[in-house]
Symmetry: C2
């Protein structure tokens, strides 16, 4: 496929990504989670299997990167290690109460920001946008 809408989508996504990143990175991180930490915590909180290795696969990052990111979450008290019973090298991560609170706070902040952008959109369009983004997200996963 190589049509005009596709090219428009590509460009628009590039711009949206740039703008959203520039809002959430390199800004006064008052106390909020960066993007990586946010998604890691969300995955852990959702009960996804959370060893260093499985997180690295899930997020397509190197294990060393995940190791450092999770160490940092642990230092902040947002996650705790649960040693594997079967393998003394390995552990999984559990979210702590404070981690869950921090995650929820961040999620609300971020949703609020998106809500502002969607203010005034007809509910039907918001719903369509949500559906199409989810479909697109699945397409990436399946690719």
């Amino acid at each position: 496929m190589s049509s005009l809408p596709v090219e428009a989508i590509e460009m628009e996504l590039s711009h949206i990504i740039r703008k959203l990143i520039s809002e959430t990175t390199y800004r006064k991180s008052d106390s909020s989670l960066d993007r990586a930490a946010y998604l890691l915590l969300d995955h852990i909180a959702s009960g996804g299997w959370s060893s260093v290795k499985s997180l690295a696969e899930e997020f397509k990052l190197d294990s060393s990167t995940i190791s450092r990111q999770t160490s940092s979450l642990e230092k902040k008290g947002y996650v705790r290690r649960v040693p594997s019973e079967l393998d003394r090298r390995a552990y999984t991560l559990d979210i702590t109460k404070s981690g869950a609170e921090e995650l929820e706070k961040n999620k609300q902040q971020r949703a609020e920001r998106i809500g502002e952008l969607l203010a005034g959109w007809p509910a039907e369009e918001v719903e369509q946008f949500s559906q199409l983004l989810q479909k697109f997200g699945r397409a990436i996963d399946e690719a």
Copy 2:
């Protein structure tokens, strides 16, 4: 606004951004433009006013960052400096033939990738998605 679709959109965007970034960054950059260079070149090619300062404002990056990025594009021969007639400190950037070719090549590669993800989508949904992304992009600009 703080409804379920908004929260779903927030999460989905976070995931899509992560996945698309991980595809286009830290990967074998065979010879293709990174995201910053791609959008810079596109802006310059589109005839947008392209001094270091205006690019920094447009992209919400520091002038020093733009200065380095444009130097790098210049070294590769993709842009050339046009000294300002009014201000001997300043210059604007023009795309070169080779820069335009490289941009076009990249645009096609990226569109092809997006096209794969949209393969099998009804044309009507692709069109809707394009429209909604553009509307969302405008909302970010106006915010």
